[in-house]
Symmetry: C2
């Protein structure tokens, strides 16, 4: 597998992702998407929105502001609990994230441990600064929310925060949306948007950055509705590699093959939680990802966020290990209850059946969109030694450019332009007349263009062109009249 550093170099070279502010030496944890990257990210986003929002009647979308009233973050618990534990070297002042440092040095998962416990581990194992080998002194909580000031005064009254998650928008607007969209339980609210976390040590390219995009939904269910009618056999039969909490607490890391139905029987999740986990897996399938690289990891009790009663990570096999690409938490009634307390506004819905007011509980499937983007690239990247170039085997539905149009020689530009103009209304196309056909195919391979159309001298006689398949390099000859239909079928994998 390609290393993450090599992938970052490839992404920069091809125009997928650049370090932000590159001419100024960059800024750690921030990235820019280039011409190919923005199209790939947009295609992933659009597919997500179509799948989870537009094709469903019971989910509506929203797009909330990044800066909001700071009381939201007090109510949600983020001002108090959304923190990393930071270690500072007593001598060189190097700062380290305690959990990552201990995990790397000792292979212990310390997520959720208290500062006291972490301190014990550091002392017991006599851990030193990795830079200057001096003692590590200060252990303190560091809040991950970026702070700013709104208005003309810089004081505590004007302090505000960049959102650290999109979820709070769905909770604070819950009543407004329930009323204006006339949805009845169960229903969901979805959002895709930028979030910010002031990570101590951003790393692994796009994986742990300080500015990133979350796509998630809060699915609200009547607290007494235990059965999920959508949890059909197709969902229950989904197979997955699963690591349970007990195994991790016993220091084991062996994944077992289970089904979603099996997890239900073990009572690791409820029906609604199981259903949404299934939908997450089904969406990953639409991306054409290698499903063997996905693994499900149950959070241990220590590790659970302050708002969740059960959480599963969906991990992907990245070059730097199997790490979270998506997750699903059972947030229960935590957030709506907190906002009700803090704002004094009702978050209850009227239950026509029982004639009483209820607070729905929330299941939250979440996706890190840059992490999905990264998984797609890692999965697609092939160093084809035989061809002598990289072949980026992107799903044709996601590829930034679907079709390359190449005149064999410059003389054929006119005819090629005609064909290009026909194709570009339906597909994202590029016109390339630079260099030999072989060189152009190689370039197309590296950009992940699934189909290249070549116009040659025979075209002028037989009104046909060649379509070359990126993955097999096989070529077929197709009449120009049938070109659009053929490419549509090829993109959607229809025989």
């Amino acid at each position: 597998m390609i290393s993450i550093d090599e992938l970052a170099v490839f992404c920069k070279k091809k125009g997928f992702v650049y370090p932000s502010s590159d001419i100024y030496g960059g800024i750690a944890g921030f990235w820019d998407f280039g011409p190919l990257g923005v199209e790939l990210l947009n295609n992933i986003r659009a597919g997500w929105w179509k799948y989870f929002v537009q094709s469903r009647e019971d989910i509506v979308g929203m797009d909330g502001s990044i800066i909001s009233n700071p009381k939201i973050w007090k109510a949600s618990g983020h001002l108090e609990s959304f923190q990393d534990i930071v270690l500072t070297c007593s001598k060189c002042k190097t700062k380290l994230r305690a959990d990552h440092f201990i995990d790397e040095k000792l292979d212990i998962n310390v997520e959720g441990m208290s500062i006291l416990d972490l301190n014990k581990i550091i002392k017991k194992n006599n851990l030193k600064c990795p830079k200057c080998s001096s003692n590590l002194k200060e252990l303190k909580g560091f809040n991950l929310l970026f702070k700013t000031h709104v208005g003309a005064e810089e004081d505590s009254a004007s302090a505000a925060y960049l959102r650290g998650e999109t979820a709070q928008g769905m909770f604070t607007d819950f009543r407004l949306i329930a009323e204006t969209s006339r949805q009845k339980l169960p229903f969901g609210i979805a959002q895709i948007g930028k979030c910010f976390r002031n990570e101590i040590s951003p790393r692994d390219f796009l994986f742990r950055s300080r500015e990133f995009t979350i796509a998630e939904l809060e699915f609200f269910v009547h607290p007494k509705q235990k059965k999920c009618p959508y949890l059909i056999k197709k969902c229950r039969d989904i197979k997955l590699f699963f690591l349970d909490a007990e195994a991790q607490e016993n220091g084991k890391k062996a994944y077992k093959e289970k089904t979603i139905g099996g997890l239900l029987k073990e009572k690791r999740l409820d029906e609604w939680h199981a259903y949404w986990l299934a939908e997450q897996i089904l969406w990953f399938r639409t991306l054409g990802l290698d499903m063997k690289k996905l693994k499900i990891r149950e959070h241990t009790k220590n590790e659970l966020s302050h708002y969740s009663s059960a959480t599963f990570d969906i991990d992907f096999e990245y070059p730097f290990g199997s790490k979270e690409v998506a997750g699903i938490a059972n947030r229960g009634i935590y957030d709506l209850t907190q906002h009700m307390k803090e704002s004094g506004k009702s978050m209850e819905l009227y239950d026509e059946e029982t004639k009483s007011k209820i607070i729905p509980r929330a299941i939250e499937p979440t996706f890190g969109m840059e992490r999905v983007f990264l998984a797609v690239l890692v999965d697609a990247y092939n160093d084809d030694k035989k061809r002598g170039n990289i072949v980026l085997k992107l799903n044709p539905k996601l590829a930034p450019i679907a079709v390359g149009v190449f005149p064999l020689v410059n003389k054929l530009d006119g005819k090629s332009r005609e064909i290009f103009d026909i194709l570009k209304t339906d597909f994202s196309c590029t016109f390339d007349r630079g260099g030999s056909i072989g060189r152009r195919y190689a370039r197309a391979d590296e950009q992940g263009i699934p189909f290249c159309v070549t116009i040659d001298f025979d075209t002028l006689e037989d009104n046909a062109v060649t379509i070359r398949d990126r993955d097999t390099t096989k070529q077929i000859r197709v009449k120009i009249d049938e070109l659009e239909k053929t490419i549509t079928k090829l993109i959607h994998g229809i025989k």
Copy 2:
């Protein structure tokens, strides 16, 4: 015309736009898009991207980070010049934006005036605090960039800013993009993204907010290429209502009808500037906006931004006056030169013809996407007294919901579901079985749904349904087999 406050109420009620953090009393200058609003905004964005990026070979997209290296804002001049002049009351400490306050009180356009000049105007006219009538004392520049800190220390070394415009991303990544996308001059880089400005007094609903979305492109041209081959007759003949700088300097506000060709002859802009102004107008036409509400205003010399040698505002007739919805600036070589100086990195391209290095100049068409959204809503809003409800006459291509499917009575649910399932793969649809058909039509009118399909008892016999047109209320009967084709034609206005 509806007042802006009434429109805000309508938007909240229907789920287009909510005040951010509404349950906490909101936060001035921040808004959330609800279920209908997010779809409308997304449709406007997608149309813009298709028009300016995907359908052109000479423009590529990017998506840069919101937080970047602060040296960018030093180089761009924003840390020094991106400020409002703030007036503070000596007694009650009320803060006012000096330019707006003087404009409202005295009807003087003071944009670009120095603090000294503003002070003279205030003294000469004896302006007092509008709240407590005390003297206005302090006049000071207030930088509009939101500040935060990146990393674990809050000191000047860690200070960073939320971007106040998207443009700098296109300038700082210019060389990387030119190289990786293999574009040759003239070519453009486009971006749509969130920007932040710490406005002293946000107002007029979405119009002047603190968090908003800019869609813009930097089109780079060889400094010696004066002719624009795309400036065809269709562009030159575009008519517009135009207010020139001289008239404004003489205190006049009379717009004159001119053509883009006419402005060229008057040497108010160059050919590339004229071409991109034409493209902006042509894009506004695709939205179906009432083009009589658009006006072009030339910036006066005082008013020009620090980076521009010529700027035109494209104003729209909002309920609160004719105000900027888009703009086009001639940024020249200002930005690339500044970044070259500040970073020490070359921003030059090699010119094969003259065998020398050149810095291209940039033309910048910009759109405030929430302002476009607002213009679309203002234009669509009709209080139909005869029908007794609001009719939101949104362009069918932009409407958040394209088709409503209504069973006449509950008994017809089964057949209606079948039809709904056919339509929902191609169109954004809603299924509504609540209340009388009249009530459902009224609701659809208010949501801007252009076409409603009603299934009645005859449907079971003749396999046909009724399509009702939102704007005319006329109904046509269509066979179910031809429903998709008919609706597609209706949406795209094909007879």
